[in-house]
């Protein structure tokens, strides 16, 4: 059986090599933290959940099945961790949603108001703006956008992580993009 880079690292970790775990953590830290932070939108909670994720991964690494991609297995654990938190703290997350909308509006009024819309915005600013909008859409759409674009996963991988049918995943991502488009239009961008 040919092992990919992640699986080689995992073998070494299971043999007791601490530095390989550090390497694995460095590789996934940015994507995992990014996903968690955009889901819970609270830095302290995101730090705590990211730490919990890596500790959990290390503790149950012996259960990992080498027939499957490590990233899919890891993202499923991360997804479950976050969704559990979101479900338990729905009211708190909703209050953050309200804050975030007003933050976005403030950001728009301060930095993004341009007479001719997006052409006047710097590319980086526009990218930041669009990802700000992503942070404000409902969780059930946001999670799929994050898995698809932040983690770069395919529809079938997302379906396996979220335990949703592939068709539902696809439809929700289409719907999410429609919501994003509407939000962006309402903000007067992309005209």
């Amino acid at each position: 059986m040919v092992l990919d880079d992640d699986q080689v690292l995992i073998k070494k970790i299971l043999e007791g090599k601490k530095s390989s775990f550090e390497e694995l953590m460095k590789k996934y830290n940015k994507k995992i933290f990014g996903f968690i932070f955009r889901m819970v939108r609270d830095e302290e909670i995101a730090i705590e959940l990211t730490q919990d994720f890596f500790i959990k991964i290390f503790k149950i690494l012996a259960k990992y099945n080498f027939e499957y991609k490590f990233s899919t297995w890891a993202y499923r654990i991360c997804y479950n961790l976050v969704i559990d938190y979101v479900r338990k703290n729905q009211a708190y997350i909703d209050s953050l949603d309200d804050d975030s909308v007003s933050q976005k509006q403030m950001l728009k009024s301060e930095n993004y108001v341009a007479e001719d819309g997006f052409d006047k915005l710097a590319k980086e600013e526009l990218k930041e703006y669009i990802w700000e909008v992503v942070d404000t859409i409902p969780v059930k759409y946001r999670e799929l956008i994050l898995l698809r674009y932040l983690q770069g996963l395919k529809y079938d991988e997302i379906a396996s992580i979220t335990e949703l049918p592939v068709g539902t995943v696809k439809n929700r991502i289409f719907k999410a993009k429609e919501i994003l488009k509407t939000e962006i239009e309402n903000d007067g961008m992309f005209k």
Binding site: K18, F21, E22, M25, K26, N29, K30, K31, I32, F33, G34, F37, R38, E43, I47, T50, Q51, F54, I55, F58, L126, K127, E128, I130, W131, V134, I145, R148, Y149, L150, N171, F174, K177, E178, L180, K181, I184, F190
Partner: protein, 187 residues
């Protein structure tokens, strides 16, 4: 003429998820329909920005805390050995000084007895006795010096204790520096 495209079809076209025939039909429709072309360009832009995500830099504290939780630091073996050795030396020396063994009749008797049975043991006792006598003499001089300058009689025992505490700290620190260097060279 083909009917106008719905959003789903446009997104599937952008993602390359259509069959060859469907793809050709959508492409032809986009050439002639301004409204659908506008929608297509909108989604295409959105797709481009989504495919280039803005990552948030994770705080360094995450890696540090995870490693601390999973691999708690245990004192280096050399440090532990250094501490044990230094503590042992301290206790022996302290007892020696406190009971003034250099001039103690028991030690002198031991020296005389051992010289009759084993020259080696007698030599070892004599060497140790000489070293401690010298150390004891140094402590006495320090004590006399402090007494003369500061008019404070600390006592030989306290000076001995303070000196050996400093010795332990120094021994401990040196051993840790050496161990770190060896560890760094092997990494």
């Amino acid at each position: 003429m083909m009917e106008c495209l719905n959003n789903e079809k446009i997104q599937e076209y952008i993602n390359g998820e259509l069959t060859t025939v469907e793809n050709a039909m959508v492409r032809d429709h986009l050439i002639i329909c301004k409204k659908c072309r506008f929608e297509y360009e909108y989604y295409e832009r959105l797709e481009k920005y989504l495919e280039d995500p803005v990552y948030i830099k994770p705080p360094e504290v995450i890696e540090r805390n995870v490693l601390k939780a999973l691999f708690p630091r245990i004192p280096a073996l050399s440090s532990v050995l250094a501490l044990i050795a230094a503590s042992f030396t301290l206790i022996i020396t302290w007892i020696y000084i406190y009971f003034d063994f250099a001039n103690n009749s028991i030690i002198q008797a031991l020296q005389i007895t051992s010289s009759k049975t084993s020259n080696f043991i007698a030599s070892v006792i004599k060497i140790i006795s000489t070293i401690f006598s010298a150390v004891y003499a140094i402590f006495k001089i320090i004590n006399a010096f402090i007494d003369a300058v500061f008019k404070v009689n600390i006592g030989v025992e306290i000076i001995g204790l303070l000196t050996f505490m400093m010795f332990i700290s120094f021994f401990y620190l040196i051993s840790r520096i050496i161990f770190k260097k060896i560890k760094g060279a092997n990494a």
